[in-house]
Assembly symmetry: C2
Homo-oligomer: 441 residues x 2
């Protein structure tokens, strides 16, 4: 961690100096490392880590975090979605609280840091300020959120939206892709109360939350490219998704001449290449977006060496930071579909559509985090989040939201995530410095 | 079936007249329909028919054909590959015999006619000539061949090459894609003798076979397009195959900017679209070929809505009628692979390669079949076979080979195959007329 440089903005009067905060965070290095090690063991599933959403892996992660929070003397609470709240009581317990959090689940065979780093950072920030003898003005809650990774139930932000009473209709009936069991059953397994969620229970009234802050590894190597350890989030992208799209053509014999074919897989290939061209065009014009076809496959029950594929299946996730860009992108996707249907004699059925609005970052929090970094001498870049985050659900509920990204070499959602502990502690120090300013001594 | 028009070439002196043959084949309409119905029931597996190679479906089909052959008084024999031989004894039993045959297996959920029509046609031809009181000059064998559909074991022509002592090394260890069991075990289940095959047993000495003829549904709608019921085969394509190719990229998060991605599925899409462009170019220049990517898929254990695919799998079958075209095509495929590896930062592993030489049709048989059709007034087109056939294995063994195709609306390897019984009987009449000329009265 870089030692503090003189702050350009005056530090809040009651908060400790930057150098003091930096040293206190540095003193938590061992706790952070031990927590990451335990969380890795909780989800060990070579290659990588599987802290499965509402399954044994995530469950062990929650137990690990709750145990550490208890050691710090925090109050432990849970809600009907089985989210974990570890609260450091403030002087005024009726004042709106500050939440530092992220999720504890991972994708299958993912990395150890995606999600978990934000929860560990919350614990580190609290522990560092406790070490400095602070008592916060308001409650500070470290939140271990459930079920952020939408791969498991094909529903995003289950934990955070569950806490905010904003779970979409039907979500409790979604089935986990591997077990085939309903979300409601999985929540009950983990000690939650699906009936309360079904009745619209809201654990977090937005009026009682002053701010939600989330530290997260960057899910692209932009910070690596820029050579800085920390990013300050400017926005979280909105998206539209077609998790279960199908193309119907005709199963035919391998010898069929080209002019007679209705090859569903080739139509899928045409779609993927066409979408990539649309993205390349946006890239050339400097318009940020992303499009991912994560599932892309012939039918395992029917495909084979000597059959022209008659059916093809894919998922689509498309995202952008600007609602107008997103809407135009969806129109371009639909036009591409129509062109391919016409040219290749196939039919697309895009299936159910899901979407999320662009998640705005609170300008005051963004500036506050940037000022904290400057006070600490931590180099940063402003960064549109490549990924979706629970923070977007808080923003959608009207809660001021800010995010800190930490440099990460190899992307996320894979076992090769590479965040150094030094960079993590730099990000955690930014969060801690901001928190010290926000809650006083 | 069209009634006979006056033959342009004089009919062989000892053979019945075309009109007589046409009427005798027409009289077998009921037998043909009943056989097709029974074979369909043997493989019923909605949607379509699964007469699984060396499995219960194929086994029932062989029993059906053997029972019908016994009713016609034919001698039944089997070989170590469990092929079925139903022989009508000739006047000179030492003379080289004529084989009429095809295979009785099907792809999973395929149609009823691919393969089976050729065996039924053999029985119809024999029954029609028996009805006319003929005794053939040499033995005529209707052969029910095993295991032509390479989808099951990823090995082509198992039955015919097994009969000819030409099974490739290692074939007996190939595993069926659904059961995972070895070919040798499946052959033993069906009453065959894998040890004899392993020792190189050859049931059919090519010197003892005067000709092999196979009727088959056309596996493309070229005859539908041309408006004629029957095609005379001019050649069977050679091929090269990569049954199990893989592309390795990097699993990454859905938000990763385009410039950082190594998307294996998108590389696969690029490959499929590139291959299609190569084919379109051949098509425009009138060079016959076909290329099929039958399996084309992300990894079901890892893929998902929010993961950039790090691995992709596909199979490739490429075929042409000219060895030089085939060789140039493979070079073009390899160049395409190199271009995509370079541009997208992925690695292709094409895996094991298999190939088959172009299968030449005997010019005398081709002319003889065309003359038979002309004598019967059946309109035909010369046609390169779109598909591979057992006939190619006989040609490779030096046995004169000819094929008759029957019009079929909806391709094959799918449940919608549509051959009319009228067209089938036209094709069978061509075969029967040729046979009458070849074996005398």
């Amino acid at each position: 961690m870089t030692a503090a440089a003189p702050a350009t903005a005056p530090a809040p009067t009651l908060a400790p100096a930057a150098a003091t905060i930096a040293a206190a965070v540095e003193a938590e290095r061992g706790r952070a490392q031990a927590l990451f090690d335990r969380l890795k063991a909780d989800g060990e599933d070579p290659p990588g880590v599987s802290r499965d959403t509402y399954g044994p892996g995530e469950q062990r992660g929650h137990a690990t975090v709750a145990a550490e929070a208890a050691r710090l003397g925090l109050e432990i609470a849970r809600d009907p979605a089985a989210n974990l709240y570890a609260t450091w009581p403030g002087r005024d317990r009726a004042a709106p609280r500050i939440i530092l959090g992220s999720h504890l689940d991972s994708v299958p065979h993912g990395g150890n840091f995606d999600g978990a780093a934000g929860v560990v950072a919350g614990l580190v920030a609290v522990a560092a300020l406790q070490r400095l003898g602070c008592t916060p003005a308001c409650d500070v809650t470290v939140m271990g959120i459930r079920a952020e990774e939408s791969i498991w139930f094909q529903v995003s932000y289950i934990g955070s939206r569950g806490a905010l009473g904003a779970l979409p209709a039907g979500a409790l009936d979604a089935r986990r892709i591997d077990t085939g069991r309903r979300l409601a059953e999985h929540i009950a397994d983990c000690g939650g109360d699906p009936a309360a969620l079904a009745a619209g229970h809201r654990q977090l009234d937005p009026a009682t939350v002053a701010a939600y802050l989330e530290l997260h590894i960057e899910q692209a190597p932009s910070l690596v490219e820029a050579g800085v350890p920390v990013g300050i989030c400017t926005a979280i992208p909105g998206n539209f998704r077609y998790p279960d799209a199908t193309i119907r053509g005709t199963n035919d014999h391998v010898g069929l001449p080209r002019r007679f074919r209705h090859d569903a897989a080739l139509a899928g290939a045409d779609f993927a290449v066409g979408l990539d061209a649309i993205w390349a065009e946006h890239e050339a014009r400097g318009i940020a977006m992303a499009a991912t076809i994560g599932r892309f496959h012939t039918d395992p029950a029917q495909h084979g060496l000597t059959i022209v594929p008659g059916a093809f299946h894919f998922s689509l996730d498309a995202r952008a930071y600007d609602a107008a860009v997103l809407a135009a992108l969806e129109q371009a996707v639909l036009a591409l579909v129509a062109r391919i249907e016409r040219q290749r004699g196939v039919r697309f059925d895009l299936g159910p559509r899901a979407s999320a609005a662009v998640g705005p970052v609170d300008p005051g929090l963004r500036d506050g985090l940037a000022a904290a970094a400057a006070a600490l001498g931590v180099a940063t870049r402003d960064l549109g989040s490549p990924a979706s985050h629970d923070a977007a659900a808080f923003a959608a509920a009207g809660i001021p939201m800010g995010m800190v990204f930490v440099r990460n070499e190899n992307g996320s959602h894979n076992p090769l995530e590479a965040m150094t502990l030094d960079d993590f502690l730099s990000g955690a120090a930014v969060l801690t410095h901001w928190l010290a300013g926000a809650v006083g001594s």
